[in-house]
């Protein structure tokens, strides 16, 4: 019996039937279909969060100049306060609300009699105290159930205060994971924000999509892009702002880092404004270099291309020695990587460059295309995915602008440029790896026992579980409060942090000597 069977075999038949589609081993040459984006099983310790977490927590959260009022009881707002490390900088022109947490703190009477009145009042108070340019409202579970019309409240407030007010119905029960929330956020931003600005086009302009500036990733990526000569119109949404996002439609090209959370906007920008998008990966040296070269190839400007190579050479030179030192210390190790909906893929190459192979991996809330590649799109809708609105946009004749002719785009695609294309996890994962979608506590624990990875990358909920069993564990959602991990310098940070985690001297101290050395008499200690 192989590892997969050993683990699945412990399930009851009903769960076995469900999970066997989510737990696969890659087979060479096979289509390697995996079940994804389906309901978690009640009672199974999934790592997933909810729709609200995906919408407010992930996509909207980083928009710094927006007063984001969570309409609901206090908890949901509280848990997304300062916890996701999407860094943002103050400047003189932009108000930064990222240190604040806003909620309507709904009480029983609001549930019974409706919460719209309180929401209106909360908006009024926010306007009076902060005078923001934009307010967003995110609803939590009970709001949808009691029927508060937050969109009407938003429209009324927008009228009343002359500012932008956008509502997001991202109740936690919607969809099967955070993923539904990403989609709802994408829709709302597209419908209400993007394209409402009137900035002028600048040369070599790009948007950076699906980059949330965790630990300053976006800043590090931006540093390199600016060094080459690109102008960043907006970042969605790390250190992002309503002020910049309004003008996202004017960029020449969209770069998509986190495919899962933002591909909707990328697609809609293409349809509505004609902007092409490229899948990039700024994590790991190979990824960065390829991505920078792809972008240069898109613009096809000899100066940009030359500058791209010069910057790559320079940046690589700076970190070369250090990286190879860390590689010496990590070479030959194996890793498990379980993160979100895109990151697992992003880190494979970085780990490989350090001599670490991923033997166990998966996603929390990815869709099939994140594993198998966009070529399988469109996917069949099920009852749950149908519940998440999928909006369609039309070409905006006034603002539509293409950088290349369709023919040129086709040429570039033919030349291998990943325009509007993403190959998914399969492109890079080792054929020996075990893959589990919607990974859960039980499977993780069991697979770890069987596959014995040297390092485990995931989030806070399983960090200490895994560490307790003797395996160093690093969070790849929050980078364990380190970072940046993106870009050239980020690769060094990552390599350093992993090396430290693996070599922490306390690992040598885990076993009490009386557990291993024979004591002179009496039994071995402990009350077991």
């Amino acid at each position: 019996m192989n590892s997969r069977e050993k683990v699945l075999d412990k399930y009851s038949s009903k769960i076995y039937k469900n999970r066997k589609e989510h737990v696969i081993e890659i087979e060479n040459g096979e289509p390697n279909i995996i079940a994804a984006d389906t309901r978690a099983i009640p009672g199974i310790l999934t790592n997933r969060g909810c729709c609200y977490a995906g919408c407010k927590g992930v996509v909207l959260g980083p928009l710094k100049d927006v007063v984001q009022i969570v309409h609901g009881p206090i908890g949901c707002s509280y848990y997304t306060w300062g916890t996701r490390r999407h860094k943002s900088k103050h400047d003189e022109t932009t108000k930064n609300f990222s240190e604040y947490c806003f909620s309507t703190d709904m009480q029983e009477t609001d549930i019974v009699f409706g919460g719209e009145k309180k929401l209106k009042k909360a908006i009024k108070e926010a306007v009076e105290i902060f005078n923001p340019a934009c307010i967003m409202i995110a609803s939590t579970c009970p709001v949808g159930l009691i029927g508060d019309d937050i969109h009407a409240v938003a429209a009324e407030a927008e009228e009343l205060y002359g500012i932008k007010v956008v509502a997001f119905s991202c109740e936690g029960y919607k969809g099967v994971s955070q993923s539904g929330g990403h989609h709802i956020a994408n829709n709302g931003l597209m419908k209400n924000i993007i394209g409402t600005g009137d900035a002028d086009h600048v040369k070599y302009s790009i948007n950076l999509l699906g980059e949330y500036n965790i630990g300053g990733d976006g800043w590090e990526i931006g540093r390199v892009l600016k060094r080459i000569g690109y102008n960043i119109v907006s970042v969605m949404t790390g250190d992002g702002s309503y002020a910049e996002m309004k003008n996202a439609h004017i960029a020449d090209l969209n770069l998509v880092q986190c495919h899962r959370s933002i591909n909707y906007i990328a697609e809609m920008l293409k349809t509505k404004y004609g902007t092409e998008w490229l899948k990039v990966n700024f994590i790991g040296l190979e990824g960065i270099k390829q991505s920078l070269r792809d972008v240069a190839a898109f613009f096809n400007d000899p100066d940009l291309t030359a500058k791209t190579e010069a910057v790559i050479a320079d940046e690589e030179d700076e970190i070369k020695v250090t990286m190879s030192e860390f590689k010496t210390k990590l070479e030959g190790k194996t890793a498990a990587v379980y993160v979100g909906g895109s990151r697992t893929h992003h880190y494979i190459n970085l780990l490989k460059s350090l001599g670490v192979e991923v033997v166990l991996g998966g996603y929390e809330f990815a869709h099939r295309d994140d594993y198998e590649g966009r070529q399988i799109l469109p996917l069949k809708m099920d009852a749950d995915s149908k519940n998440i609105e999928s909006i369609t946009v039309e070409k905006d004749p006034a603002k539509f602008r293409t950088f290349h002719t369709p023919e040129r785009i086709q040429e570039l695609k033919d030349a291998g440029l990943p325009i509007e294309s993403y190959e998914g996890l399969w492109a890079d994962i080792s054929p020996d790896a075990m893959i589990t979608d919607d990974f859960n506590h039980f499977e993780t624990e069991e697979f770890i026992k069987l596959l014995k990875p040297d390092i485990f990358f995931s989030g806070i909920k399983d960090k200490y579980v895994v560490q307790r069993s003797g395996i160093p564990s690093r969070q790849l959602h929050s980078y364990d409060y380190s970072g940046p991990y993106a870009g050239f310098k980020g690769a060094v940070n990552f390599a350093r942090d992993v090396t430290l985690a693996v070599n922490t001297p306390a690992w040598e101290l885990v076993q009490a000597p009386w557990k291993t050395e024979p004591t002179l008499e009496g039994s071995i200690g402990g009350m077991e």
Binding site: G43, Y79, Y100, K121, A126, G144, G172, K461
Partner: protein, 454 residues
């Protein structure tokens, strides 16, 4: 830092900014983790469960295990009975706890799920238990949820068989495992036979051994919870947190009860010790008397560094009240006491404390947020903040030192292992407060005013 907070305080009745509380379920989950071999279960959308596990793990730096009913949109409309049924089966099948402790969420509460019926209908393996409590997020706070879960456990499990067991039932309040250890140490020193519910020591501060166990050694045993009904009396520490279970145990099983403030500082620990003394009729051992005398000695020796220093204390109501009394024992002025948990009892208790110590110009407010506390401080400053991590922004903005105590502390380590209750906890707290104030003096003084001896 917090540059957008205006000094001028404006009336707010709808917008909560930078809250000093979170929702009931996380408290219920923490309480359930203090039961041995228990799987806390969140009946609602899986996001709640994830948020709570994340949040508890960040405070304790230890795994917080819990399962979810993983509601879909359908369940939200048609009820979560089927989800719970499936969940219960799967949990017992896969994770094999002795008990599942279910709490509700605003989702299942709003749709009116009937948990009693669901659990009655569920297939529960022989010798295993499923209990529940209602924890609507739109009522009370995490403190309420904590109290509710203890009450729920008693409601389902505790029985008065008519034969007293000679034990004291202790409700420790919403405190850290290190505090629970100290409370137990004192009971043991006082020769008290007890059951403490919940007991997260050995669970949320479990040792590293190289092997992971989903259910660590710690936690109150189910049999002990059942036997709570036969206790001689119950003692609830933290009056605002522990009254509910203590009263309920009295109502259900006729176990008389007493409630006391959290034993923080000298006098409140004295009250705890004296209550144990009255219960056990054992004399107070010298070991405790010595610790007490050491703490008093420290307070006397160091008084000039704390006396008349103004402090703002924020966090959970019983913790804030206990810390406030200790601050007063240190001669400090607890200028602002703030909790996010609603309830006027907090303000009454605080005002009684101000009166007892003749502390003038102090304000206590419940159902309050950090934004307002920050505004107060902007208008009339303090020398020290005591509270959880969220205060660090205010601390940095106003350059006021922060001593971390209470819940949550998500940006430091070790705090959950060591007590702030009892005389020993008082020494630790005193050391933290003194070091913080004295470090600040050393930092701020001119070179010529730097003191070698202090």
């Amino acid at each position: 830092m917090l540059d957008l907070t205006p000094k001028e305080v404006s009336e707010r009745s709808a917008l909560r900014i930078n809250p000093l509380k979170t929702c009931q379920p996380v408290g219920a989950m923490y309480a359930a983790l203090g039961v041995h071999n228990c799987m806390p279960h969140s009946h609602g959308s899986q996001g709640c469960c994830s948020f709570h596990r994340m949040f508890l793990t960040r405070h304790f730096k230890d795994p917080a295990i819990a399962s979810s009913s993983s509601f879909t949109e359908g369940a939200s409309v048609f009820g979560g009975g089927s989800n719970l049924k499936t969940a219960i089966k799967n949990i017992f099948d896969i994770y094999d706890p002795d008990i599942i402790a279910v709490h509700t969420t605003c989702l299942s509460e709003t749709i009116g799920d009937d948990l009693v019926t669901y659990i009655n209908d569920a297939k529960i393996p022989e010798g295993k238990f499923v209990v529940h409590t209602n924890t609507p997020s739109y009522v009370g706070s995490h403190i309420t949820g904590f109290s509710n879960m203890i009450t729920g456990l008693i409601k389902y499990l505790s029985e008065n068989t008519g034969i007293k067991n000679g034990k004291l039932a202790l409700f420790p309040g919403f405190v850290n495992p290190g505090d629970m250890r100290e409370m137990k140490k004192i009971m043991t020193l006082m020769g008290v036979n007890f059951t403490m519910l919940p007991d997260t020591s050995g669970v949320m501060d479990a040792p590293m051994t190289g092997t992971y166990s989903m259910y660590p050694k710690g936690g109150t045993k189910i049999q002990e919870i059942i036997d709570l009904g036969n206790c001689e009396m119950s003692l609830g520490l933290g009056e605002l947190t522990s009254s509910m279970p203590a009263e309920f145990l009295d109502t259900k099983c006729k176990v008389p009860y007493q409630t006391l403030p959290l034993p923080i500082g000298v006098e409140l620990t004295d009250q705890y010790v004296m209550a144990l003394n009255r219960f056990s009729k054992n004399e107070v051992p010298y070991a405790l008397e010595e610790e007490r005398g050491q703490l008093v000695d420290i307070l006397l020796d160091s008084h000039q560094y704390t006396q008349n220093k103004k402090v703002a204390i924020f966090g959970d109501p019983d913790t804030v009240l206990g810390l406030a009394q200790f601050a007063l024992e240190l001669g400090m002025i607890p200028k602002y006491l703030a909790t996010g948990t609603p309830g006027k009892f907090f303000e009454e208790k605080a005002n009684a404390l101000f009166e007892k110590f003749d502390a003038e110009g102090c304000i206590a407010k419940g159902n309050m947020d950090l934004f307002e506390l920050h505004q107060w401080i902007k208008n009339d400053g303090v020398d020290l903040l005591i509270g959880g991590t969220h205060g660090k922004y205010v601390a940095k903005a106003e350059d006021i030192p922060l001593v971390r105590a209470g819940f949550p502390i998500v940006d430091r380590y070790v705090h959950s292992y060591l007590p702030i209750v009892g005389y020993k906890g008082g020494m630790r707290l005193a050391e933290m407060i003194l070091n913080t104030l004295m470090d600040r003096q050393d930092r701020d003084c001119a070179d010529e005013d730097m003191e070698m001896i202090m």
